[in-house]
Symmetry: C2
Subunit: 705 residues, 2 copies
């Protein structure tokens, strides 16, 4: 679908220039210099020939087909150029020019017009305000970047052109091979989602790295990401994850990012590996590009130094990885071959005077061990150390066992040659042990993701029509907030169990209702005008007899009439008083990018004071809901800490799934809380005690998927 | 005190060798090659001359005084050599030789003998099992390291020789200047504490970096650290901070490390900046060495790229630093000088086409701004970018404003020259924005530490003798666990308020006691033989009348006599039933390295399930105790969340201070819990409801300070 961006047979450079320093000069130069094999058409009304190529006044004048156009002219002429491309039926247009959405309202309008033209002609657009596109496999450098990376299998996308230049410069310096490089700029059309899809099926790309500041279409992005990450690892660095950062980001590209919590949840649910620091992206990318996947968590360390071995061990313990327990055979083999002072257990310490042969033996012993899934080799430059021969031995061993091998060669000039040799021969080498562990951990996280069953959001049989009708009525009445009885009906329609409940207009009926429900009961004033019932004496709990109910009714009416004389009172809601159970809260708010963000936490102080909550973006699978419940710090309280009965977590999980379905079915719900949901002892289900639902103010929102 | 290690007038190399590859060859070679100006005496019974210097059979044969001896001979001969040094009155001996404590029991015994000889003669020892000592100021390289760092003001200590070799190799490659380098090895004598003290008063050292795996004498270390960090920053990387890491560490050097929680607390209380990753140590060290301190938290960013500016902003928001709010004047100045599309607020975006002049203007505008305490300059290699001229402008500006300036030049070959220029001219430059922010944050953490009043542990007037007497009685009775009444007496002697409490042997006396105390009361069986009172029906709460007390007494006696017929029953403890208040827990355990580690948390699930606790090592200042209380996640519950009355935190803080005093006065207390301490509403104090005290099994421990 994006083929013509990567494998065009012909490229027109609109605004090609012979003047050094102009972007149109750089782009044309890059196309020619790096050996693009297709046709190149410089477009410039003022020239007949540039860099030895015939030049055309307009893209429309080009004799043959044009697969790709790169627009480098000022923004005010860009729309006309896009129209020309549409007339010429150019399928792929890269707009490098800046001065669009990122420059405010006028630019945004111009960008809108460009998109409109493109949409009308089926043309796809990369940019505007970007660096361009590179595909090493076809020697295409349709960018104004200062250089061309080597061929490789890392695909890279960047929402920041400048970040892209830094990455390219780094890759060129370190001789890191890239497959594709796309600077997406303002993402008027092609965005992270289109690229995830394209790279997912690109045979040249083994891993996708990306720098993004926002995601445009959350639900679609998640759908595509979920598919792509099954095929190859996707590592994204998302900036703007603090309030100040997000503010800086939105003034930068005018993008409205969702909350960072939503990104955390969305990445988590779709198997995207989120780089916490910029360096992670490169380190992890190298591990995936250069090495093979890891089958399990068990890592062996081989080191010539105790200290750095401990550092690596600490890092492993803090990661998802484990220190491998070597088999007896391996320990015996090591004991026979290494000096007695060596450590034959993991970390394997080959001692400070180890030369390459001792490393070689230990590395092979570790790789051979069935208890070992991957090996990290740590080296410090001691007197007898042989960094280069050790690197050579490591490269040889790395190719023989089908397990990933990473290295941490510490130091400077004395280890540099070995370091470079490793990198050249595709054993990722890092200057510090922690980075090697972090990269190995990324391999393992990908393994865990691949091992997670795909799962689907279950679909419960619910009374959707009843809810639709209710919402219609509420909106017709000019309200956005549902009353208690309405909210109860909505969640009941989606399968939540509720306390038995009867509306009683008189004291007599209240007594009858209580007798029917069974004592004890709760009584709540029922009035659309009263939001905070307890503030006006409108709630009584634990009423144990007919007499108490009658007295409570009268007292309540008196108190409410006194405090809110104008309130329209429907009566009193007599409710079953559910006892026992743990209070949990299920909630939903709408994230601007990702839509329905579900929340889970324990009731009371846990949510409000301790902020001990977990989030996921709907739709969620059963595994997502399970993870959500297990993620809170206080989970032990639900599982039966301190001798209490374990709560019915299955019922809570089902509640989250039903809530997700409700929020997806009705995008007009902007806020929903079930607070509390009582989770009874295992096997005894749950009961929703109270719910609060707020609808969108103006007409139903568009469905989130 | 360690002068002769750093500024000896003469050095003897015991085991000097002309054979390349021998440590004795390397050491002698390093002394000569790097230009040590004092006398050098090779010692080797088999040679008359080595490297042109006259050689002696024993250090005793050297004609003049010997200030320092470096022992490079095998371990089995080392003790004799140390004896020779003692005879010769050599004040400073470096034992490079391995094969001591790190090799098991026999080696440990040898090390003990060496220490004994040294102690007898007043000799100080560095090592054994170390790399040696370097002092660039005196051109002394008494080590077998492969190279010599440049002169500088960074002091470095390493418990791992191999880590030391890596650091030296790095420093040499990057041309980072060091003042002193000490590999402390097994720390038989000179350890981190001696070096903290020495470097603290060393005029050549501006900052101390260190790699350690353990601290030997916790209380002394803390005392010295607290003084040193007031004079210069101390950055330590402590490895072995996970269970597996600690295990690897103890098999490595045989050192018994305390718990990582104790290290966190001790570093925190003494102003040591703990490097979380190895790279932090170097990054922070460079910032302190190359730049000046920062006066406040406000940082301005100058960048030619939005993306990396956002990354830096995020990092600042996550640190202790703040994004500076530029003054109106600065914003106006920037608006006049920069293109309209630039960002004149913080981060200051000079745009992708900025050359050095635009950077220069913006950097100066930021540094001049009174709202700005420090500046970070971010650069990406875009088409018009001028990395070197920008670096030059940055270096000039850096010297003019007395504020710290750090840089992040991203990329590779295109930014390398500017990067190197900055480093050469003492503007620390990092490849990623996050590392620049982390370094600036370290400067600010040091500022915060210097701004913290020193404080002292308050001393309360207590009944120390009463406690001493009680402990004597308990131990005389062959017990280590105190009974409830005994524990009550101990904490009461240290000023804790307790519920009124009377021991009643009969039902009648129980009733009298309850009437005297006032209803309601609690009753607990009192017997040295019954630890778990409630298991045998030995606890009743909420007794509201004489009748209830009498019945409860009889029922309790019957139940206990039935269940534990042989128990020696003293009667029943009738206790005031304290109502209200928040339950908190004050605790103490002894850390093997740091001694009394105090713990604070909320009662019930908060400590047991949520592990929401804070730690400090006694002695503590009032500020420490305050920090401890405020550190728990649930602090809002004590401060009056959800409309509750705020608890008397002053009383809790005083409780922690009194507990600290008790534990320092009596090192024989190995465990102590006050659980719960009821914290009443503000101004109403606290009450200790229950306490548990365990003494050391065998004789009183040595005092921890």
């Amino acid at each position: 679908m994006l083929d013509k961006f990567f494998e065009p047979r012909s490229v027109a450079v609109i605004g090609a220039s012979r003047e050094a320093g102009k972007i149109g000069n750089d782009v044309l130069h890059n196309l020619i210099q790096y050996g693009f094999k297709g046709k190149i058409y410089p477009i410039n009304p003022k020239s007949d020939e540039i860099m030895g190529l015939p030049c055309y006044k307009s893209v429309k004048d080009v004799p043959g087909e044009v697969d790709q156009a790169v627009i480098c002219i000022p923004a005010k002429f860009a729309l006309e150029a896009v129209r020309d491309c549409a007339a010429k039926k150019v399928p792929a247009v890269i707009i490098i020019t800046a001065g669009f959405k990122e420059m405010g309202r006028e630019g945004a309008e111009l960008e809108r017009q460009v998109v409109e033209v493109a949409a009308g002609s089926g043309m796809r657009i990369v940019g505007p305000n970007c660096l361009g596109v590179i595909n090493t496999a076809t020697a295409l450098n349709a960018s104004f970047a200062a250089g061309m990376p080597e061929c490789g299998d890392i695909a890279f996308l960047s929402q920041s052109g400048a970040f892209g230049t830094a990455v390219l410069d780094w890759a060129i310096g370190e001789k890191i091979g890239f497959s594709k490089f796309v600077s997406v700029g303002n993402k008027a059309d092609v965005d992270e989602t289109s690229l995830l899809e394209a790279i997912g099926s690109d045979k040249d790309s083994k891993v996708l790295l990306g720098y993004i500041e926002s995601v445009q279409h959350g639900p679609e992005f998640m759908r595509i990401a979920r598919e792509t990450t099954r095929r190859k690892p996707v590592i994204l660095f998302k900036s703007g994850n603090t309030a100040a950062g997000a503010k800086a980001a939105s003034s930068h590209t005018g993008a409205l990012a969702g909350s960072d919590k939503a990104y955390v949840a969305a990445f988590n649910q779709t198997g995207i590996l989120r780089a916490e620091q910029v360096v992670d992206m490169f380190d992890w990318g190298l591990a995936f590009s250069y090495q093979r996947g890891i089958k399990g968590p068990n890592v062996a360390l081989v080191t010539n130094a105790g200290g750095p071995g401990i550092i690596a061990t600490d890092a492993i313990e803090k990661s998802r990885l484990k220190m491998a327990t070597l088999t007896k055979e391996t320990v015996e083999d090591l004991r026979k071959a290494l000096p007695p002072a060596a450590n034959f257990y993991n970390p394997i310490d080959v001692l400070g005077d180890a030369k390459a042969d001792r490393y070689d033996f230990a590395i092979r012993a570790a790789l051979k061990d069935p208890n070992v899934d991957g090996v990290i080799v740590v080296l410090t430059p001691q007197t007898s150390t042989e960094p280069l021969p050790t690197a050579e031995a490591l490269v040889r061993a790395s190719s023989e066992f089908g397990k990933p091998v990473l290295a941490a060669f510490m130091g400077g000039p004395r280890t540099a040659e070995g370091f470079r040799y490793l990198m050249k021969h595709k054993v990722p080498c890092f200057p510090f042990p922690e980075r090697a562990v972090s990269a190995m951990n990324a391999l393992y996280r990908q393994r865990l993701w691949l091992d997670t069953p795909e799962g689907e959001a279950p679909v419960f049989s619910v009374k959707r029509d009843a809810v639709a009708k209710m919402f219609k009525q509420v909106r017709a009445a000019g309200r956005t907030q549902l009353g208690e009885i309405e909210s109860r009906e909505v969640i009941s329609a989606y399968g939540f169990r509720l306390p038995k409940s009867i509306l009683a207009p008189t004291a007599q009926e209240a007594v009858k209702a209580a007798e029917c429900i069974g004592f004890p009961v709760v009584m709540k004033i029922s009035s659309p005008d009263i939001l905070h019932k307890s503030d006006v004496g409108g709630v009584k709990v634990g009423l144990k007899s007919a007499k108490e109910v009658e007295e409570a009714f009268n007292a309540m009416m008196e108190s409410v009439r006194k405090k809110m004389p104008k309130a329209d009172i429907h009566g009193v809601l007599v409710q079953q008083m559910a006892g026992g159970g743990k209070e949990v809260i299920l909630g939903m708010t709408r994230d601007p990018q990702f839509g329905p963000m579900l929340m889970f936490g324990l009731g009371g102080i846990y949510v409000e004071v301790l902020k001990d909550v977990s989030f996921r973006v709907a739709p969620i699978t059963r595994a997502d809901a399970e993870a959500m419940v297990n993620e809170i710090r206080a989970i032990a309280l639900l599982k039966g800490a301190r001798g209490q009965a374990p709560a019915d977590l299955d019922a809570v999980i089902e509640g989250l799934l039903r809530l997700a379905q409700l929020c997806l079915d009705f995008p007009e719900i902007v806020e929903l809380d079930i607070n509390p949901l009582l989770a009874f002892a295992r096997g005894e289900g749950s009961m929703a005690i109270d719910a609060r639902i707020v609808l969108k103010a103006d007409g139903p929102a568009k469905s989130a998927h």
